[in-house]
């Protein structure tokens, strides 16, 4: 076996987290009953997941709400202790060496800010510089870099409460990168942001990854981000990893339908094909669904053009939202 020179940045083995929740009954009668005879139920938020992340990877964690993504991230940064299994960051356990690990960690929670609300953005940076003991020369160099990508200098003198959501997110990202961490956790960094800001944030993540080999772990519901950024996608559902591969692999594996939309010159359309399905006919427009593995687009087009004159057509590629939805669904209804 080949000897690896660098250990994985993250290694999780059989990582689990159980929460004890009280089972509550409804109604007033139930509420009174709950006071005395609450039934404890154990909920497995994360259920024995194992994975490794190497230096320089950008990994997307996706999954429906409540799938266990945030819990997993919290265990990796030492906020939560696992109830089973273990996780190592650069070979250290966050449970035992939290303060050592977080020195080299940047964390952005998209829904919360770590900036001081009332003060100009620069004050928060100055505080973080002191907390992480970044010397002034290094800080200035980093700031210059961050300014180039995120235009920080435009907003550095503005009080945080006056920043727009997008500006604030730029500030939060810069704040998380001030101490040049080797590992960056982003929990829904693009939530609620407009296209322009999303684009610049994606660009930022790509650049720091390329320039500093920063390992990035990203959770998101926005699959465009995933598509633009992640070499690797880990899909979590019900606390388990259901898929861990590149996006292309996922699409190929699930091999879902593409759509062909054809405009004809007539609205009297009678179309059928054994390997394609007519989804809908609207006036002169017909939409067909087919699988790449069963029939090629050109084959289908020539088949239609033999019967009708085609005015216009367009091909809709696999929607990755559909792909992911299909994977979630497969999980819920396991194939026997």
């Amino acid at each position: 076996m080949e000897q690896k020179t660098t250990p994985p940045v993250i290694k999780a083995v059989n990582l689990s987290k159980e929460f004890i929740t009280k089972k509550k009954e409804s109604g007033i009668k139930g509420a009174v009953k709950n006071l005395f005879f609450a039934k404890n139920t154990v909920k497995k938020a994360v259920d024995g997941i194992s994975f490794e992340v190497q230096r320089g990877e950008i990994v997307g964690f996706i999954g429906p709400n409540g799938a266990g993504k945030s819990t997993t991230i919290k265990m990796m940064c030492g906020i939560l202790n696992p109830s089973g299994g273990e996780v190592w960051i650069n070979g250290l356990s966050p449970k035992k060496d939290r303060q050592v690990i977080v020195k080299d960690l940047g964390v952005v929670f998209g829904q919360r800010s770590q900036l001081y609300w009332d003060l100009r953005l620069g004050e928060s940076f100055e505080l973080l510089r002191r907390i992480y003991e970044v010397d002034k020369a290094k800080y200035d160099a980093t700031m210059e870099d961050l300014d180039r990508i995120l235009n920080i200098n435009d907003i550095i003198n503005t009080p945080v409460r006056q920043l727009s959501l997008g500006q604030r997110m730029r500030g939060d990202l810069a704040a998380a990168m001030l101490h040049s961490p080797a590992l960056l956790f982003l929990d829904e960094p693009t939530i609620g942001l407009d296209v322009e800001v999303k684009y610049s944030i994606c660009k930022f993540i790509k650049e720091i990854n390329k320039k500093y080999q920063t390992t990035v772990i990203l959770t998101t519901h926005d699959l465009d981000d995933v598509q633009a950024l992640c070499d690797r996608i880990i899909i979590i559902n019900d606390g388990k990893i259901v898929s861990d591969s590149s996006l292309e692999d996922i699409i190929d594996k699930t091999s879902p339908e593409r759509q062909l939309i054809v405009d004809l010159y007539t609205d009297d359309i009678q179309l059928e094909h054994p390997r394609a399905e007519v989804v809908k006919i609207e006036g002169q427009r017909v939409t067909l669904k087919f699988r790449k593995t069963e029939i090629s687009a050109s084959e289908l087009i020539s088949y239609i053009s033999k019967q009708y004159a085609i005015r216009d057509l367009s091909l809709v590629e696999t929607d990755i939202d559909d792909v992911i939805r299909q994977i979630y669904k497969q999980q819920r209804e396991p194939v026997v």
Partner: protein, 270 residues
């Protein structure tokens, strides 16, 4: 040693940032500066009315009560300056604020303590100081070096004791998720037990306030020592030193409770 220096300079920086935050809203400060002193001046006027119309309270003259009342308010004001964040632990938990503190390479309790300085607390302290100085002069308190040191020990101890009680009751939120209501209970309790001589209460309550929840040490015991009033309790050594000791001991206890609570947080999350 290096760590200590680092924490000290960070504490200074947190202080600076908090002052800047406070100065962002000057009118807020001014409104408290008007309303808070009023509350305490009316309090002492009530005492005056009671004593002039009835008789001295359990052997305490009005001037002596003013001393006790002012001393109590000074430590109250200081505890509001330094420990206000303990009133909001439940909000910090539900908002996930502790997640934020835990991903920084600093002790969580330290960050928690220096997160907020509430300068509005000074508006609580100022009337206390005025009433206290009046009490000192009117009751013939002698400003010897020993007495001044004793007063400082009492103020530090009493502030720590109040802070400890807030921290302990706030930390209960790690288990219950809600603790805000306890804070207001303690605030009321503090008012009743630190602004009047504890001897007005039945003996059983005096025992509770001495041995279980030692609020009698905040202003009652030290004041009785200065005026040589018999409380019916015997302690070895100076009562002022006792206040200091009790305050520090409770503060250390509260740190432990906070730590255990945080461990609970690590296993449950928010």
């Amino acid at each position: 040693m290096k760590t200590l220096l680092r924490y000290f300079s960070l504490a200074k920086y947190f202080l600076k940032i908090n002052i800047q935050c406070g100065l962002e809203y000057p009118s807020y400060l001014i409104s408290w500066l008007i309303s808070n002193p009023l509350q305490f001046f009316f309090g002492i006027i009530t005492v005056k009315v009671i004593i002039t119309n009835f008789h001295a309270l359990e052997g305490w003259s009005f001037e002596q009560i003013a001393f006790l009342y002012g001393l109590g308010i000074i430590s109250h004001g200081l505890s509001v300056v330094f420990f206000i964040q303990t009133w909001y632990i439940d909000y910090m938990i539900t908002d996930g604020e502790f997640d934020r503190l835990m991903v920084r390479p600093l002790n969580v309790f330290f960050q928690f303590c220096f997160k907020d300085f509430n300068f509005v607390g000074i508006t609580d302290m100022l009337p206390g100081l005025v009433i206290f100085i009046y009490g000192c002069i009117a009751s013939g308190f002698s400003f010897t070096v020993i007495n001044i040191i004793k007063i400082l020990l009492v103020i530090i101890g009493a502030t720590a004791l109040r802070g400890a009680i807030y921290t302990i009751s706030g930390s209960l939120a790690f288990w219950t998720k809600r603790s805000g209501i306890l804070t207001s209970v303690y605030l009321t309790l503090f008012t009743y037990t630190t602004q009047y001589p504890v001897s007005i209460f039945p003996r059983l309550i005096q025992d509770l306030l001495t041995f279980i929840l030692p609020l009698a040490f905040i202003s009652y015991f030290p004041s009785s020592e200065f005026f040589g009033i018999d409380t019916g309790y015997r302690f070895m050594g100076s009562l002022s030193v006792w206040t200091f000791g009790v305050g520090i001991a409770f503060y250390l206890l509260s740190m432990t409770v906070f730590k255990i609570g945080l461990r609970r947080y690590e296993s449950c999350g928010s």
